[in-house]
Amino acid sequence: MKTSDYLKAGWLAFALVLAFVIGWELYWRSQGFELSYNDDESLWAFTRKRIYNTTPARPVIIGSSRVKFDIDQTQWEQQTGQTPVQLALVGTSPRPVLTDLANDPDFKGTLLVGVVEGLFFSGDGSPMEIEAKKRIDVYPKWSLSQQASFYLNQHLESNLLFLDEERFSLNSLLKRLPIESRAGVFVFPNFPIRMGYTKPNRQTIFSKAFVADTAVQHGVQYVWSYLGMLSNKKGVGGDTLSGIIQSVKVNVDKIRARGGNVLFLKMPVSDPALAAEQVSFPRKEYWDRLLSETGSQGIHFADYPELSKYVCPDWSHLAPADTKPFTADLIRIIEEKTHWTLQKSPTSNHPKQ
């Protein structure tokens, strides 16, 4: 090969890649997808850095997907003038994050803890804990180089739809191929590709396609059924449950001892998932016991008509149109229950429905 051929090969590669990137981006745009940000270790670590100087109006939120979907951060900001710090992790137990914050001597703020019993009361070493711990482990090692890459990546992700690892990466697309797996192997099911998207503030939102298309909603419901959301199997009990609650109490006490606040939240859930939850995790044995033994306050959606009037389209999370009024009512109820000051001017700012 001559030198000129080296250059020709290089220019051809460049031209083909450029054509592919433009075509790939245009293709996904033409399919009507919303721009989504990768909710990865870096975005979590970036958000984790903001936990200091939090106040009741600017709380840290930990939990699972329900607080991530249901608390509308734009609405929160509109009413309080402050943006909450969203640290909830989809499909995980918030207890490792609670431990992490309790062990951080500089965290003295307000913490809202979303409780999904099946995840929250999972035993030590469960996959729900391991997944959460992965993020926590990355945070102290988040190097300057990774931080710089994160900022560059954010700019690219703001402009390029296809840079969404969860939906459009090679592995994600390969996982969606209709290949039967070996009998007896548990394969994590795929959520519909049009289910939702994530904003840079880590808020997750159902897509327009999800809201409009019941087939997509059924696709999500199928995943929940497959993962056992409708199971009536009794949750952990005995010493395991006592140990979990005790560990939560220890962490809550640490935060309170530094002047911080902790409030537990039980977000809306609809039948048939609600019915299954009530059998598996009876309120008295789990939620009520958690609050009494940790000496904490909590807001259970079922106690408030304003919070329990919604129907979750996938049984587990609120529709985008409902998250704003839900958040507005939640802020008011938190104020009434805790006497914390959250709103800039109370009673105002309730969104029009």
């Binding site: 030198t3 090969a9 290089g10 460049f14 710089a148 990466s169 007896g184 192997v185 394969v187």
Partner: protein, 488 residues
């Protein structure tokens, strides 16, 4: 900073621009040195002090060694360099391990002792740059060459970012002469360097991180035994992952360096086509194996002090080579297994040499044996056997502890056969595809080079293959994950 990150792309583009501006050669070298410090500091800035300390002390000690004619003094200056470098390495890398074993030993003797857990962070690349600087002072001590008069050249030799954190482990004669005269990549070097960078990133991002890490991490992380097929699949996945991760890094390093006009030594030569373990170590992490040969095996006596001593020297070299990879008994076992395989191979070769028939007998045997033994097939089967044994050693390399490694081996060989099936069919297919592809490619390229292949193919074919790799990198979207060898 890792090669598979946006930060590196920006850093590299800026550096290429700077390196091609009409500055003096000295200014360009200062730019390269500062860029290398930045490259390193973006992990953990305080550790740059260790790098400076090592650089300054070795520069001074080498000069003193060269200036002195007194044997004792020369030994003293060398000892200072060795104590500093090996002391830092021992403290940061083996401090916790030594304390843990000391505590276990006392407890084993019935002395109740509980040491506070040391909170030591391992500086990235310390094992690599320690070996780089050690080779310099030892070679000056041996009067192999005179010490480098220019501190800038020496500092750049130690710190030059492409090799700094994960090799190739360069020797002074590889790099220092290249800093003496102005260098700039030719357009051919630039294109070839970029191609190598793409190839390295393809191996790392697509194969190692995108396809192989998930099944390997999943199975090796399970607290219970698995089905034999799943256990084998996980080991094969790791086998591909470790090659693509480390081979990918070396390929990136060589490519990046070439774009700046400097050549780095080859570090991998299709290791999974190795016929036997001595061949494997001529193909796997070549710069480490040659370093261990020149600075450990030969000084121990090599193969010049009798047969028994040769085996002892081989075992010592491989056990220490294993320990170099990490402070854990599993790495020692890994090195020990390689040492045993090397000894067995040496014994076998010695026995074969002795029992070799006389020339006339050989001709008679060849004439009467129909068909004549197919040497190529035989070699291929030997390469497969080597690959199989290498995979067994990888179990100790990857498993978090000894019990997990033994559990995996028991599953692999069917002693525990009732474990559940865990890997999905697409994962198994990916592992099978990558393993067959890797073995096939290594075997077919055994005595060839990628550059030779690139040059033989028509430019449009090479360009299209290059574009395919780039597209797969972009599609995989797995950026900024660290390279496995950084932890060593």
């Amino acid at each position: 900073m890792v090669f598979n990150s946006y930060t590196f792309v920006l850093f590299f583009v800026l550096l290429l621009v700077l390196h091609n501006l009409p500055f003096s050669w000295k200014t360009k070298k200062i730019n390269l040195l500062l860029a290398s410090y930045l490259f390193y500091a973006l992990w953990n800035p305080p550790f740059i002090l260790l790098l400076w300390l090592s650089t300054v002390v070795d520069y001074l000690m080498a000069r003193k060694i060269a200036e002195s004619e007194d044997k004792l003094r020369r030994k003293l200056w060398l000892a200072i360099s060795l104590i500093l470098n090996l002391g830092m390495l021992s403290y940061f890398k083996y401090g916790g391990f030594l304390l843990e074993n000391f505590t276990a030993m006392l407890n084993g003797m019935g002395i109740a002792y509980q040491a506070a857990k040391p909170d030591i962070v391992l500086p990235v690349g310390i094992s690599f740059y320690t070996f780089v600087t050690l080779s310099y002072t030892i070679d000056v001590y041996r009067r192999k060459f005179a010490p480098e008069p220019s501190f800038l050249n020496f500092a750049l030799f130690v710190t030059y970012f492409p090799h700094l954190v994960a090799g190739p482990i360069v020797r002074p004669e590889d790099l220092i002469p290249q800093f003496k005269t102005p260098r700039k990549a030719t357009s051919e070097q630039m294109v070839w360097g970029l191609f190598l960078l793409t190839l390295g990133l393809f191996l790392k991002v697509v194969i190692a991180d995108g396809w192989m890490s998930e099944p390997a991490n999943f199975i090796f992380g399970l607290p219970f035994p698995v089905n034999p097929l799943d256990a084998w699949s996980a080991v094969l996945a790791f086998s591909a992952q470790i090659f693509c991760d480390f081979g990918g890094y070396s390929t990136c390093a060589i490519g990046v360096s070439l774009c700046l006009g400097f050549t780095l030594p080859e570090n991998f030569r299709y290791p999974y086509a190795a016929i036997g373990f001595s061949d494997f170590w001529r193909r796997w992490h070549i710069t480490l194996s040659t370093w261990l040969r020149d600075y450990l095996y030969i000084p121990l006596g090599g193969n010049k002090s009798g047969s028994f001593r040769t085996y002892v020297n081989l075992m010592i070299t491989m056990l220490l080579g294993g320990l170099w990879h990490g402070a854990s008994w599993n790495f020692v076992i890994w090195g020990g297994l390689h040492g045993i395989f090397l000894c067995v191979e040496r014994l076998f070769r010695g026995w074969k040499k002795k029992s070799k028939p006389m020339v006339a007998e050989e001709i008679i045997i060849q004439a009467t044996l129909i068909p004549v033994r197919n040497k190529n097939l035989g070699n291929f089967l030997l390469a497969l056997l080597t690959f199989l044994l290498v995979n067994i050693t990888w179990v100790f390399f990857r498993a978090p502890d000894f019990s997990q490694a033994m559990k995996m081996l028991l599953c692999m060989f069917g002693v525990i056969s009732q474990g559940p099936k865990m890997l999905s069919t697409p994962d198994m297919l990916k592992i099978a595809l990558v393993t067959i592809g890797l073995l096939g490619f290594h075997w077919s390229m055994r005595d060839k080079s990628v550059k030779g292949l690139f040059m033989r193919l028509p430019w449009w074919f090479s360009g299209t293959a290059w574009a395919m790799m780039l597209i797969l990198i972009i599609l995989t979207q797995k950026s900024t994950s660290s390279f496995i060898y950084f932890q060593f």
